[in-house]
């Protein structure tokens, strides 16, 4: 059945809805009617009435229990169960620990045999490994940013592992979350994948009692005194040496 805007009559819509619900129209007519329902409220109402009638007619059909394998296949289709809090913790703990041990091994190696790791034409002091390292996760627990700072430097280097989704007029602020003190601002983040930011002091002075780093989304104007909830990213900050 063809639908023209000129015969936008209730009767035609009712017939189209009935053919759709009865299934007597072909695939193309079915798709056409589905599109119509999305854009036309009267068509949607006609469909609703026929769907209610359809459910009343279907109620007479005797129930048949599906075989047990069907549920298992549905579960497969909709993907694995969402991780519980403890498993989410375990999920990031393993890569974080691996990363930390790798760094510690690297520190040891650099100190013990610097010429193995560092080009011999560089003075060893030029490439000291980071002393403070933070791995920030997004809301779904995926690693999103890596922050590291030298022991006595006032700069923190940040590598974004995934781009920050910022609304217009907003900026991302990197916070330090000390153990027993309110959060304070470390730096304002840019959009580059790799960036070197200046902190208000040396990392040893600022980060010694900081357990966590976090990123919040703030208005571009001014510097906030406290972070806007919730944090976009958050993660542990560890002192390596």
């Amino acid at each position: 059945m063809k639908y023209n805007r000129t015969d936008d009559s209730a009767e035609l819509l009712d017939r189209l809805a009935a053919s759709y619900v009865f299934g007597t129209s072909g695939s193309r007519a079915r798709r056409r009617f589905e599109r119509l329902v999305r854009s036309n409220a009267a068509a949607a109402r006609a469909l609703q009435s026929w769907e209610a009638r359809s459910a009343a007619l279907s109620a007479a059909i005797p129930p048949v229990s599906p075989p047990p394998g069907v549920w298992a296949r549905i579960e497969q289709r909709i993907g694995p169960a969402p991780q519980t809090a403890s498993r989410r913790w375990a999920g990031w703990l393993r890569p974080a620990l691996g990363f930390a041990f790798g760094l510690i091994a690297m520190v040891g190696l650099v100190r013990w045999q610097p010429q193995w790791v560092l080009p011999s034409d560089l003075p060893p002091k030029a490439v000291l490994p980071a002393s403070y390292v933070g791995l920030l996760l997004d809301a779904s627990g995926r690693p999103a940013a890596l922050a590291s700072s030298l022991k006595h430097g006032a700069q923190i280097s940040v590598k974004l592992l995934q781009p920050l989704a910022l609304p217009a007029g907003k900026v991302a602020i990197l916070w330090a979350l000390p153990d027993k003190a309110p959060p304070f601002v470390l730096a304002r983040l840019g959009g580059d994948t790799k960036q070197l930011l200046t902190m208000p002091g040396s990392s040893e002075a600022l980060l010694a009692s900081v357990n966590e780093l976090a990123v919040s989304v703030e208005d571009a104007a001014g510097t906030p005194a406290s972070p806007a909830a919730p944090f976009l990213l958050r993660g542990h900050c560890v002192k390596l040496w």
């Binding site: 017939r15 007597t24 695939s27 079915r30 009638r53 009343a56 279907s58 005797p62 229990s65």
Partner: protein
């Protein structure tokens, strides 16, 4: 028939990705919905596929259910019927699967369960509109039942009833009009 208020609360929890609620919804509704798919498709394998696809859609699209607009079972029935009808209307199935009208596809439809016309009469009894249904002409009633419960297309109806496709279309249209009036009286 599962309780509407229960199904509504389960669907609301499914929107929040509550797997336990989804399992309960499946336990409560899958026999009814599987019966519907099996009637239309008359093949166990196809009906199982349709049930899987329908529940996967229910999991992902539960947020599109509007409690103010329809009963939960109405929405669930539509999801299953639409998927089953799409499968029935798919060109490939038509070519390879000549549709048998009689329930002779092994154990596809349980023994002793009524034929399409019997189902339509039972539905009419349950809705207390049997007299109204009985007043509809025989061929129109037959077309309604075969189209609705077995998903026969116009040409399949014509073939099954041995009547020209033009007559079938007229019967079906009149039958649907009469059925709507019967059911409107209820509401």
């Amino acid at each position: 028939m599962p309780d509407s208020a229960l199904l509504e609360s389960l669907l609301a929890r499914v929107v929040l990705r509550d797997r336990e609620a989804f399992r309960q919804l499946y336990d409560a509704c899958s026999p009814q919905l599987f019966g519907i798919a099996l009637r239309l498709l008359r093949r166990h394998d196809l009906a199982e596929d349709v049930l899987q696809e329908a529940f996967s859609r229910i999991w992902h699209r539960a947020d599109s259910y509007r409690p103010a607009a329809s009963q939960p079972m109405t929405w669930l029935t539509s999801v299953v019927r639409n998927r089953a009808l799409d499968v029935l209307r798919a060109e490939s199935l038509r070519r390879t699967e000549p549709l048998e009208v009689d329930d002779d596809a092994g154990d596809a439809v349980p023994d002793g369960s009524p034929d399409p016309l019997g189902l339509l009469e039972q539905a009419a009894d349950a809705l207390r509109m049997r007299a109204c249904l009985d007043a509809i002409d025989g061929p129109q009633r037959q077309c309604l039942a075969l189209a609705y419960y077995h998903g026969l297309s116009h040409s399949e109806l014509a073939e099954h009833l041995g009547s020209p496709i033009g007559s079938v279309k007229v019967w079906l249209r009149r039958g649907i009009d009469r059925l709507r009036r019967c059911m409107e009286r209820l509401a």
